[in-house]
Symmetry: C2
Subunit: 451 residues, 2 copies
């Protein structure tokens, strides 16, 4: 986060406005004032956010909106149990959210809807003058990414993609180590999304996870919409959990940018096999051809000459792993073997040591400050932090710590990887969504006094 003084300095230094509301509106709210939030989409993911917001004294949930009665009922139950006031409830088809945006009393919205709705909802929200948070994947095409940037710049409304892994406790500890030069100069980083999603992509239409091989209209929750991406697109469909933390560690859009990218995709077997095994060869879905390769590998090069490797692996039986690796001139951390090696500090030369003592020692100040509050929140506590960062940004009327440039830079990996694969593994230039502002922007993410 940037302070007002730094913000003004940065703005005048560069001669280019940052994405931020006009300065007259800055600090219009006191830090302890209540933020009024509307939720667009209260499916299972939106309900996680709803739960977190209902626990906060500094937030009033003033409106919720969805397209499904079942999800709305679940959300209303949750609100009743919380003892908070029932917000405006909008169940009025896919564009019902636009009614919410007309409400002048809403400061901010959180969007948790199927991916294909993210861009239009973000655009509408920013155009309505709302601080906008959106679940991961903002911009399904490069053109959509540019639209989001241009709209945020024009309206001055921040867009924050809710990439929670930037706040994972071990990841933040490692970022802390990076900043304290434990790894020396960074050389190579890895991350990805290696998660057997077969029981997310298919279910019985009743339960959210597994129990059947249905998707689309006959599926429930994510299987209703997410699986279609595996049918239609061969790409790294979900790069942000891996790239978010890596981008923050390597100062992407803040003194560094991605310059080019290449993706390779393997054969596609896992989803079809799953259908045949669990639904039989005669199940209609056994005829579906899935374009998504089972393992998609992406290499990215940075302006400052670091290399980054991303892996997307969601169709095969495998243990969950985001596959992080952070490697510099002094040493290396990997999460798959929970190990670290730092030259001259690790006890034995050439030997891995358990990373936990290091992660404890370098526990990030934000985690030290808020661990008690975060405990019990989704995904090991990191959901608390990402929602908190958005709420605190709205309260202070500052830019969000992950901003529109991050949102689209990380999301753009999907369409870029798709094009690369489609062209037989061709290498593509990476767009500079900051249009040169990366040369002057500073990395304040999760630094002292921020959130």
């Amino acid at each position: 986060m940037i302070s007002r003084r730094d913000f003004i300095k940065a703005t005048s230094l560069t001669g280019i406005g940052l994405t931020i509301i006009p300065s007259g509106v800055l600090f219009s709210k006191e830090k302890d004032e209540v933020v009024r939030i509307g939720l667009i989409g209260v499916g299972l993911r939106g309900q996680n956010h709803l739960d977190l917001l209902l626990r906060r004294a500094d937030v009033e949930v003033v409106a919720i909106c969805d397209v499904q009665q079942r999800m709305m009922d679940m959300s209303k139950d949750m609100i009743k149990k919380s003892g908070k006031a029932m917000p405006q409830v909008i169940l009025d088809g896919p564009y019902g959210y636009r009614k919410m945006l007309e409400n002048k009393d809403i400061d901010a919205v959180i969007i948790s809807t199927p991916w294909e709705w993210h861009t239009i909802m973000c655009l509408d929200a920013m155009n309505a003058g709302k601080y906008t948070a959106c679940e991961v994947m903002t911009g399904a095409t490069i053109e959509e990414c540019w639209q989001l940037v241009h709209t945020s710049e024009r309206t001055g409304m921040p867009l924050m993609m809710l990439e929670n892994v930037c706040y994972r406790r071990d990841v933040m500890a490692v970022m802390n180590m990076v900043r304290q030069n434990v790894f020396g100069e960074l050389i190579h980083l890895q991350g990805g999304y290696q998660h057997d999603l077969r029981e997310v992509k298919f279910n019985d239409g009743v339960k959210p996870y597994g129990g059947g091989v249905e998707f689309g209209e006959k599926g429930f929750s994510e299987a209703q919409w997410r699986t279609q991406y595996s049918v239609m697109r061969d790409a790294d469909l979900y790069p942000t959990h891996g790239i978010g933390p890596i981008a923050m560690m390597t100062n992407i859009n803040r003194g560094n940018i991605f310059t080019h990218l290449t993706s390779y995709s393997s054969k596609s077997r896992g989803l079809h096999n799953y259908i045949v095994k669990n639904g039989g060869e005669d199940h209609p879905n056994a005829k579906v051809k899935f374009k998504l390769g089972d393992v998609v590998t992406t290499m990215i090069k940075c302006k400052n000459e670091e290399t980054i490797l991303l892996q997307h692996d969601t169709n095969l039986p495998r243990p969950y792993s985001l596959g992080f690796r952070v490697q510099g001139t002094n040493g290396i951390w990997m999460d798959v073997n929970k190990s670290i090696y730092i030259e001259g500090r690790s006890k034995e030369a050439h030997r891995w040591e358990d990373a936990q003592a290091w992660l404890d020692k370098y526990d990030h100040p934000l985690w030290k400050a808020h661990a008690a509050k975060a405990t019990g929140a989704g995904h090991g506590g990191m959901d608390w932090f990402v929602v908190n960062a958005f709420v605190e940004s709205v309260k202070r009327k500052t830019n969000t710590p992950q901003d529109v440039y991050d949102a689209v830079t990380w999301s753009a990996i999907t369409p870029l990887s798709e094009t690369s694969i489609q062209q037989g593994g061709e290498t593509l230039a990476f767009p500079d969504f900051t249009s040169g502002k990366w040369m002057y922007r500073k990395n304040d993410f999760a630094k002292d006094g921020t959130y």
Copy 2:
């Protein structure tokens, strides 16, 4: 290995001669006859081979050749201690090996010299009618690779690159599992060479490892020649340990081929930093610019649509790891966390389990048969196997289990990755060194009755 009948069948089936000596010479030696071998290069690596050969009753070392008195003295001591007859000793400059090749009593040669000598020595040896084994990296350019193929095909003399990791015990167990369909259909594989070589690339000119920051003329052993590759070439300089086993598991040159490749290289810091730290900023080598990026990442796609990831990482402080990963439709093995997961067979869903019990259960028949002999040989016993495979091939006058097509296909990754990096991460077509024979060749590597 192929039997004579299979060999003839394969040859007539394809209409193209395999690399093999003319059939009139087949089986000219009985299986228990003694093979006469000459060693070209008896530096530290050649001395490993010498030691293994001196222990064998079926081998007579009839000549040794080197360019350094010190290495020759060490080798002669070793021979004296073995009680075997002193072979012809050739210490006559870099082309002294050609005298050895004139000796009609030599059946085979083993070449263990600096990389830049491999091609010419292999060509000369095959042209002299010798079975030829060569240490890893055969062919520094694509043109050299083709020369080796054409010469082997024209002379009928096999060329075996001594890629020992194909015989690593855990790797062979995993290959055994691949063949027994434990992993299902293979989807994605990884390997590489992740080995902190700073004390190999630099020494004090006396000891082979470390103790100084000298290389080239002032260095000793590998530092005399190998380090210059880090100065001059930005490439995956050492791909064969990773790709050899992966190629055998995916039937490369035997029903499958590599189709294209892309490499990215990181900034280069590790070697310069090492010199400054250990030799001071004023050491003359502190002025050397190393072209080799610290981490080089290469993606390869196969005709049968598997993806392969290779990593080359030799300049930074890090624990040794070849980084193997074998992943199929049923599960995944990784060596960095010594873990495996096989759907329906691993005890807990979505959880890694220790791989050792699986590696023991699927211990390869070759290891079961020869573990006692291999124990004590270099690199955990695998050196025994690779030398044994060569000796047994010479005895039987069959093709070698790793043959000229493997040697150049695996080695070609270096020049291809160099070109890709030079062109900014461009994607390149992979040459088919078999000229179509891959469509008909069968994978007999380490199958029953072979070696």
